[in-house]
């Protein structure tokens, strides 16, 4: 072990190059350099494909064998080059000197072993501690990441913990041996905002206590504001700009950085739109959804099963041309409401009026046909919502063919719609994998528009997209809405997005509506504690990205 000298960076990456292996190698990293000092947090930000995750994998010596290889440069941990070190040496360094936490803690933990056993393994592999010592060390580590009842956690299996608790366990494991360097790859992206805030605070606190250097990878500028000391903006495998957080965010030198920052939606709600006519296209009356889980035996004995009320007494009205946002964290029932509106789930009770007709009691595709036309959906992940085996054209005209429209006519209309969503007409004959994520989402929007719907339900429709693409897709939605006088039901966990596109906002918590009103009112003057907590947890809430300065007073 090399003792770190004062002033020496914990991690020093110099001119690092990585390319794919195979006949046609492509450069993934084109010579990047950066340093992290002890106790410092460096944020690598960039959009998908920028090479930020590959950088972390090189540092951990975890590049997938046979796929990627380092072609040049060094990555020195306390002066010792990882790139040229033997696999045995890097294995010893991992855990002891450097550790990593991942985006999805469930997949990083072994589901069939207790948390305690997995923690024990770390001590067993790297220290000479005895059994009882290891156990007490583990309990102390769980305690330090503020996990409630460490002894219970020790005996639990991963699935018995919440997402936030699992991430805390991961952090406890990563920091168990007090590494000099912690690499966090999108550690809070899969978590709810309130949990995210706690995890970020926890990383900050532990870092200060142990003087750990943190390499934090994220795509979220808000998170950067909250956690970074210095920022390294990456694009296409190159470092675009490096500097302290204040410098980069308030005086970005490069156009790309400026574009990135400009694409971050503001938390301040946009000005309310005037509404001329009130014409309800969608109305929900006291909709309830109860999921019941009953074993075969209980069904036989007519015993009540385990009941979960996912949606409790939800009512709202949506007018033509307006956007209603449903915001809430995972498990709040916001998606279930959307799925009931679309009749992908059957509501347990209540009425769903589409253009004045109750669709809740209807059964079967034929009876639902008019409602299916009137209400269309845009899904979160455009990679999965388009059949990879069908061309864009075939996906687009599926609904029209079902409605009996001739193929040639439908294809012509699909071509026009592709132009409306900003894609060339010849995209009709291409397959989904030949498009980028943003383009795929455009196709998904065009597919919904093919049905000439009155309402579009967008379930986290921009959450899987990079910020710059996200802004473009939101603009497209707004444009389409204005042109066709569409009503949009926008389901999101992202208050920034909600603030920019919604006329009204409904906040849901545990299946209940806790606050409902005009977006300007709900988001700038929240009445309910939960809404306030959500707003407070929004990452980077005290930074004005448009003006590039800290917000001193609440707007």
């Amino acid at each position: 072990m090399t003792a770190s000298q004062p002033g020496q960076p914990v991690l020093s990456v110099r001119d690092l190059k990585v390319s794919t292996m195979g006949r046609r190698p492509a450069e993934i990293l084109k010579g990047i350099s950066f340093d992290i000092a002890p106790g410092e947090t460096l944020c690598l930000v960039g959009e998908s494909g920028s090479g930020k995750s590959v950088t972390s994998l090189v540092t951990m010596d975890l590049l997938p064998r046979g796929e990627l290889q380092v072609t040049g440069g060094t990555a020195a941990l306390n002066g010792e080059d990882i790139v040229s070190a033997s696999p045995a040496r890097t294995k010893a360094l991992r855990g002891a000197e450097m550790a990593m936490i991942f985006q999805e803690p469930m997949t990083a933990l072994n589901p069939v072993l207790t948390i305690g056993l997995q923690m024990d393994e770390i001590y067993r592999a790297h220290t000479k501690m005895r059994g009882p010592d290891r156990r007490s060390a583990a309990l102390a580590a769980f305690d330090s990441v503020s996990l409630p009842d460490p002894a219970r956690i020790y005996d639990s299996y991963p699935h018995q913990l919440s997402g936030g608790q699992r991430q805390r366990v991961m952090i406890a494991m990563a920091l168990a041996l007090k590494p000099k360097l912690l690499i966090a790859d999108e550690p809070t992206t899969a978590l709810d905002v309130t949990t995210q805030k706690q995890i970020l605070q926890l990383i900050r606190k532990l870092q200060e206590e142990q003087n750990t250097a943190v390499l934090f990878i994220t795509h979220d500028m808000g998170v950067v504001v909250d956690i970074a000391d210095r920022v390294c903006v990456m694009r296409h495998g190159e470092v675009v700009e490096t500097g302290t957080t204040g410098e980069v965010l308030s005086q970005p030198r490069e156009q790309y950085t400026r574009d990135l920052l400009a694409a971050v939606p503001s938390l301040t709600p946009r000005r309310a739109r005037a509404q001329e006519r009130h014409e309800h296209v969608l109305e929900l009356l006291e909709v309830e959804k109860v999921f019941e889980f009953r074993s075969f035996l209980s069904k036989l004995l007519r015993r009540p099963g385990h009941r979960v009320r996912a949606v409790k007494d939800v009512s709202f009205r949506l007018d033509r041309g307006r956007t209603l946002g449903i915001v809430g964290e995972s498990g709040s029932g916001k998606s279930t409401v959307a799925r009931c509106v679309l009749r992908l789930e059957d509501p347990t009770s209540g009425a769903i009026l589409v253009n004045g007709h109750d669709i809740a009691p209807l059964e079967g595709q034929t009876a639902l046909a008019p409602a299916r036309r009137a209400v269309q959906m845009i899904f979160q992940d455009p990679n999965r919502s388009l059949n990879p085996r069908l061309t864009a054209g075939d996906s687009l005209i599926e609904g029209a063919l079902n409605a009996g429209e001739p193929r040639a006519e439908a294809l012509a209309r699909a071509g026009e719609l592709l132009e409306v969503v900003g894609l060339p007409r010849d995209a009709l004959t291409r397959y989904p994998h030949q498009f980028s994520g943003g383009q795929r989402q455009r196709i998904a929007i065009a597919r919904a528009l093919m049905m000439s719907p009155d309402v579009i339900v967008a379930d986290e429709a921009v959450s899987a997209l990079d910020v710059s693409v996200q802004a473009q897709v939101l603009d497209l939605l707004a444009e389409v809405q204005a042109r066709r006088n569409l009503a949009i039901l926008f389901i999101t966990h992202d208050l920034r997005v909600a603030a920019q596109i919604c006329d009204d906002v409904m906040v849901m918590q545990r299946g209940e509506v806790v606050e409902f009103g005009p977006a300007g009112q709900v988001l700038s003057d929240p009445q309910h504690d939960y809404t306030r907590a959500l707003l407070e947890a929004a990452p980077g809430r005290d930074w004005d990205f448009a003006k590039g300065r800290r917000i001193t007073e609440p707007a």
Binding site: L342, L344, Q365, L368, A369, R372, R373, V375, Q376, M377, F379, Q380, D381, R384, S385, L386, N387, P388, R389, L390, S395, E398, G399, N402, A403, Y431, P432, H433, A444, R447, M451
Partner: protein, 283 residues
Amino acid sequence: MSQTQSLRKRLIETPPHWTTMLALAVLLAIVAMALFAPRIANFPPTELNAMMRLKPADGTYWMGTDSFGRDLYSRVIHGARVSLLVGAGVALGAILIGLPLGLLAGWFRGLDAVLMRAMDGLMAIPGILLAIAIVALTKAGLTTVIIAIMLPEIPQVVRLVRARVLATRSETFVEAAVLLGTSPMRIIWRHLLPSTIAPLIVQGTYVYASAILTEAALSFLGVGIGTETPTWGNIMAEGRLYFALNPWLVYWPAIVLSLCILSINLLGDALRDRLDPKMKGRS
């Protein structure tokens, strides 16, 4: 990534391993042997010659003769016809019946409960016992044997297809199709069926190989196709009685049978590695 690549691309892109090429060559040789059996045989397979009983191999009788003085070489290459035919019949039949059942079971949950219990029942009976029972109850012939071997193979196919359908139906593009008003039958045809093709091709090769083996076992036990038609199984059954005198009566058909099964399984493994890269290296 793998899903977006077309089937053709995955099959053709990289050159196969040499074992795969060898297996393919062996199998093609056996198929050619079966196709041209009457031309390349030295004698009609059923021609008796009392003078030439149990002769060792020589220039005229390349593999020797059996207890009736029939030419073993001619019988073995004719035996390939029955084996390959039974394999093809069973594999195609099992897929033709199992595929629609699996698709329906995967989509319609009510049907699933009933159908899958029936399949469990069928699977609970040992395949070869069921086959023996069916052949014993009816007249033994090529069709009966194919049906008898096919029946116990159907549940495997149904389960495979159903599992694929269950995995695919949770994809959001299937929900999107529901929202576009697509009827269940059309969803099955357009969105679910294509994802089952690749694993079915692979499963087909295994069914093919195991059918050939089962047919040989049935013939060996004397409940298969009658001895007037030579099959690898009944050649071995007859040769068994003279094993002490001339073990080659059993060895020759056994070697060809083993080579045939081995190459089909190797090809199946190679196909699986191509079509489903995640399964690579498992057995």
